[in-house]
Amino acid sequence: MKFIHTADLHLGSPFKGLTNLPSAIRQAVHNSIYQAFDTLVAQAIDLKVDFIVIAGDEFDNVERDLQAQLYLQQKFLELAQHHIPVFLIYGNHDYLTSSQAIVSYPSNVHVFGPQISTVTLKLVSGLRIAVSGFSYDQNHLTANKAQSYPARLDNVDYQIGILHGEIGQTNQNNYAPFSVEDLQSKGYDYWALGHIHQRQIINKNPYIVYPGNLQGRHRKETGAKGYYLVEWDGQQTNLEFRAVAPIIWQNQQLDVARIQDLDTLIKQITQTIANKQNTLVELTFTNYEKLSTTIQGLIDSGELLATLQKNAQSEHFNYIYRFHRQFTTKTIYQAIDEPFWKQAAQDVFTKANLQQHLGKLQQVAAIRDVYQNPDFLAKLQQTAIDIISQNKMED
């Protein structure tokens, strides 16, 4: 018996953290999420899997994106033609709304409702599989839903729990918080989780697994992305990760301490970012202060990045979307003044003080998202240090 466990497709999601892309790469980016799922479906058919489990967040924004919905319908039809059942729940991104009724899925797709339910499936081999799960019907679920899952059925060979959520305390977490013990206590064979985009196997007996998302969409979703092919031989469950993301996000570092001239720099950049797969790269220059002012000027003005971006191939690309300059920060102030700097920082880097500067900028959601980030103030102080440090060096 084998099945595919995937989650967090986020169909229709834009890529974040990019300011611009050449049109060909932009198109590749636009296609990538669909392409990843195309590959999954093709492999499912090819591998003749018994069924597919999708643990929520199929859509990035279900209310608006018709294209994504019709795409998924089309893909499910394709799977229906090959008699591959799909068990699907909705997550916090695509929780059940009335407007969803517009697209209907073929009969091979079972969508779990907002109440936890269990369906059983009898495979051609005679094996009986039970699948339990539920869909979000609102953005946030603070209750522990895992505890409410039914106990393992007696008459099934394998039972799977699908859950979109994260480990946490009841009422302190918005995404159906649970504990590993909660899941273990149910006696299921496999917990197909969704929500966390970083692939991870939380537990092996039984397997409690986040497959991660299919295609990274920003700088924090780095590395290969794909799904888990789960095989059960009647005794043991084996997992095989299969990468399908056509575009990989990478955060690369390049120590520029010893780089003297532009040619060497470009050569080393090219070597650092070289990858057989299509990549979007954030390149961090460490020891940036060691670079000559001329080269720094080329980097600071954006000229070097623009040139590299312009030269990026579109068929196979390792595209640098951002240079990050990292300084080996010396203490910007004298030890004898340190108390005053610290005292001042406590005054300056506060939410209240920040808000005084923001004014109408607070109305912009994207900006709010930035400064409402819990570690924003700490980062801001580091940014200030970097700025001061860089400026002092320029003197």
């Binding site: 229709g12 999601s13 834009p14 890529f15 974040k16 953290g17 990019l18 300011t19 611009n20 932009r26 980016v29 636009h30 924004n61 209310e63 608006r64 994106d65 018709l66 294209q67 994504a68 919905q69 019709l70 407007s99 517009i102 002012t293 102030y333 004298q334 030890a335 004898i336 003044d337 108390p339 005053f340 700097w341 005292q343 001042a344 005054d347 300056v348 880097f349 003080n353 920040l354 500067h357 923001l358 004014g359 109408k360 900028l361 912009v364 994207a366 900006i367 998202d369 930035v370 400064y371 801001l380 102080q381 940014t383 200030a384 970097d386 700025i387 001061i388 400026n391 002092k392 003197d395």
Partner: protein, 826 residues
């Protein structure tokens, strides 16, 4: 900590130069270009490292002009009276620092610990005072000066103030709340417009749903219309069919009125009639043929005449035929025997005559008697002339040969010799012969000659006459035989001529041809043939006659039968019969046509009968066609609408504009947040700096002001006595208790205040770090009085820490002893 001395290996203009310093303070005098400033930078470089080659720093390196060695030693004395040697050299970018404490080598870490919390940076900012710090006071606005003064509580405050300003400026270049052109402002504008567009973006789901509903509605209308269309099409089709059949219908109607005849000729009778007609015709033809045959089998008149003539003269013809046969045999005989014999005989004669040319064919042989007579004559003659003749002839021969030889000798030509020989010989021979005749035997000879003439033997010699008698005999026999043969031939020819004459006479009436054997034979054969033919025809004729009779009988019988048939149908002849038959046949055909039409029209017949005219039918068809067209248009329109809606829906499905737009928004968001982070980073950094400076000043000013008051009093020649720091502001009190704000001070006094505070801060820091203070001619702009005050200040400062002061002009009076004074020269 104090500097006790330096040992310069090579630095600027100094090469292998040593100086010792006083541990409280040291004034170093020197004109321009004597290395005052170089010396201070040497100390700084050895203690804290050589200046780098980058930026402004590169002018502070002081690479030695005249030495390959760069660096030197600085000797320190710490608070515990330990002697430290700090040795720093640089060779090809590698800086080497060696440190000894009381001649014991120490690590760099030990040394840094000795310096702490002093750093290179701090030393430059606090313990290294030159004109620049003071000069800037004169370039500041009042507010800036106040700000500078108020910020003096922190290390490097003026630099910090500059940086703060720059950061604020940078921040302002990114964003201003009421700005337009700045990056963040522009990104915000774009963000706003994108958001507005997003609002305008139709809710695709709803639209798709609406389109689907519309499509369903249209699709529901379709079957009904399609049914109507089908019905109308059927109607049109039916009417078109009726229209096509209209002509047939008319024909059918016309046929409906034709009557049917009661009479009918039976099929058997028709067959009988046809057979009879055929038989009669056949028999008649037979008669004609037979008659023709009869006619053909008679001989023509010419032939009959020919036969008659032949039969009439048959006996004569037979006789002639027999005669012809005999002649033919004779002719064959002649040809086979006589003619060849004749030829042979003639050849024999010719041969003989050729051999004996002196003879001719008609000679008659001599009789025995005649021959004896001639022999007698000859014998007589021979006896007479035998001797003389012999000698003469011999002499003649010799003579001839001799003359011929002579001629040959004379002429050398054989030709002429032979000719000559012959001529002479012939002449001689002739002469001899002539002489003979005249011989005594002439008589005999004459006799002999006449004998010969008598028997025509003139051409023969006497001997030949005797010798050739046999031949002559032969010739005579041949002549006789030839004559006999010729007679036979002539006889045959005569008979033949007679025969031809008779035949010619007989055949003249029957042929114009020249009579010949062939013609005769041909004629006979022809006659024979005609006779045979005549016999044959006679037999044939009898047979034909019998056949003819039989046919006539048959014909009569057939005609009788036909007459009976005509009678049966009351017609007189076959023309009438056939007319009747044709009439009946037409009636039958019409009947059949009618049935066929009825079948073809079928059910339509009833429909057709409803219409009075074709026009009416056409009108109804036109109406139906119009109706159909109208309905089809409606349907077409409906289909178009459906297609349009489907296309719209498909477009919505295919349209990735929305997702592309979301990406566009994300691009903007990234740019926006990046610019925002940059901006707020700058804003906060600037604020952090100013806040820090405030804290530093607020903390340090109470201490600072005590030192500053004394310094300020010195610098103002005792005019100002008190500096108060109240609520973040400085108040200055004169000796007369007069109070000034900073901005009320003259620029010179403000500069003195700044210097006082600055020096106070340096002393404050020096108090903590205990590092020497290096002053580079910082007070150059002061008047004489104030300049001398400086030396007092230096002495005052040296109570806190060692001061090394370099200047161009010596202090007035005996303010400083010679130990504390070091003069540099070129």
């Amino acid at each position: 900590m104090q500097i006790t001395g330096v040992n310069i290996y090579g630095f600027g203009c100094f090469v292998d130069t040593k100086f010792n310093f006083q541990t409280d303070y040291q004034v170093i005098l020197g004109n321009n270009e004597t290395g005052k400033t170089t010396l201070l930078y040497f100390i700084r470089s050895i203690l804290f490292g050589f200046a780098s080659a980058r930026g402004q720093e590169k002018y502070r390196r002081y690479l030695p002009h005249k030495s390959s060695k760069y660096g030197g030693e600085v000797y320190l004395l710490d608070a515990d009276n330990n002697h430290w040697t700090i040795k720093r050299t640089k060779k090809q970018n590698s800086e080497l620092l060696t440190v000894y404490e009381n001649d014991q080598p120490k690590t760099t870490a030990d040394y840094l610990q000795l310096l702490a919390p002093m750093t290179s940076d701090l030393f430059i900012k606090t313990n290294f005072i030159d004109q620049t710090a003071l000069e800037q006071v004169y370039h500041l606005t009042d507010d800036e000066l106040l700000e500078q003064i108020l910020a003096l509580g922190a290390v490097g405050s003026s630099d910090w103030l500059k940086l703060r300003k720059k950061l604020q400026k940078d921040a302002d270049q990114l964003y201003r709340p009421r700005g337009k052109k700045y990056e963040l402002n522009q990104l915000l504008d774009k963000h706003q417009s994108l958001q507005a567009q997003l609002q305008e973006f139709d809710n695709e789901n709803t639209k798709y749903h609406q389109l689907q509903a519309q499509l369903q509605e249209l699709l529901q209308q379709e079957p009904d219309l399609q049914q109507q269309e089908e019905q109308l099409q059927q109607q049109v089709h039916q009417l078109e069919e009726l229209q096509k059949k209209w002509a047939l219908f008319q024909e059918f109607k016309a046929l409906a009125h034709t009557a049917t005849s009661p009479i009918a000729i039976s099929a058997t009778d028709i067959t009988t009639y046809d057979n009879l007609q055929q038989s009669i015709a056949w028999n008649q033809q037979l008669v004609t043929n037979l008659q023709q045959q009869q006619k053909n089998s008679s001989l023509n008149s010419q032939q009959q005449a020919q036969i008659a003539y032949f039969l009439q003269n048959q006996a004569q013809f037979q006789r002639l035929q027999q005669q012809q046969q005999e002649l033919k045999f004779q002719s064959q005989y002649l040809k086979a025997n006589i003619i060849p014999q004749q030829q042979q005989l003639q050849e024999q004669r010719s041969t003989l005559l050729q051999h004996n040319p002196q003879l001719n064919a008609d000679l008659t042989p001599l009789t025995q008697q005649q021959l004896q007579q001639f022999q007698k004559l000859l014998t007589q003659l021979k006896g007479q002339k035998q001797t003389s003749k012999q000698t003469t002839k011999l002499a003649l021969g010799v003579l001839t040969v001799g003359i011929s030889g002579l001629v040959l000798m004379l002429t050398h030509k054989w030709f002429w010799a032979v000719i000559m020989f012959l001529i002479i010989f012939a002449l001689s021979w002739w002469i001899l012969t002539v002489q003979e005749a005249k011989s005594p035997t002439v008589h005999i000879r004459t006799h002999m000659q006449s004998f010969k003439q008598q028997y025509h033997l003139d051409n023969l010699t006497d001997q030949e006459v005797i010798d050739l008698q046999g031949i002559i005999m032969q010739l005579a026999n041949l002549k006789q035989q030839l004559a006999a043969n010729q007679k036979q031939i002539d006889d045959y020819q005569e008979l033949r001529a007679q025969f031809l004459q008779r035949l010619s006479n007989l055949m003249r009436p029957v042929t114009a041809q020249t009579i010949s054997d062939v013609v005769f034979d041909e004629y006979l054969r022809e006659c024979q043939h005609l006779l045979q033919l005549q016999e044959l025809q006679r037999t044939n004729h009898e047979q034909l006659q019998s056949k003819l009779t039989a046919t006539h009988t048959q014909l009569t019988k057939l005609k009788q039968e036909l007459a009976e048939l005509f009678q049966k149908y009351h017609v007189d002849d076959s023309q009438q019969f056939e007319q009747l038959q044709s009439q009946l046949q037409q009636q039958h055909q019409e009947q059949q046509r009618k049935v066929l039409l009825q079948q073809t029209l079928g059910d339509d017949l009833n429909q057709l009968q409803k219409f009075t005219s074709l026009t009416e039918l056409k009108q109804q068809l036109k109406q139906a066609q119009d109706n159909l067209q109208q309905l089809q248009q409606t349907l077409h329109h409906l289909n178009q609408q459906e297609a349009q809606i489907t296309a719209q829906a498909q477009q919505l499905v295919n349209n990735d504009q929305y997702e592309q737009f979301l990406q566009e928004i994300e691009f903007n968001n990234t740019a926006l947040t990046t610019a925002f982070s940059e901006w707020i980073g700058h804003v906060m950094a600037a604020q952090w700096i100013s806040t820090t400076l405030n804290y530093a000043s607020a903390n340090r000013f109470p201490n600072l002001l005590q030192r500053a008051e004394q310094l300020f009093m010195q610098l103002t020649n005792g005019r100002f006595k008190v500096i108060n720091f109240v609520e973040g502001e400085l108040k200055l009190l004169t000796a007369d208790k007069e109070q000034f704000d900073v901005h009320e001070l003259s620029r010179g006094t403000a500069a003195q205040l700044y210097l006082a505070l600055n020096l106070a801060f340096v002393l404050e820091v020096a108090d903590i770090t205990a590092m020497p203070i290096l002053i580079d001619d910082a007070l150059v702009d002061f008047d004489t009085q104030r300049k001398s005050n400086i030396f007092r200040i230096i002495q005052q400062m040296s109570q806190v820490t060692q001061v090394i002061y370099v200047c161009a002009q010596p202090p007035t009076a005996n303010l400083i002893d010679s130990e504390h004074l070091l003069t540099l020269s070129r």
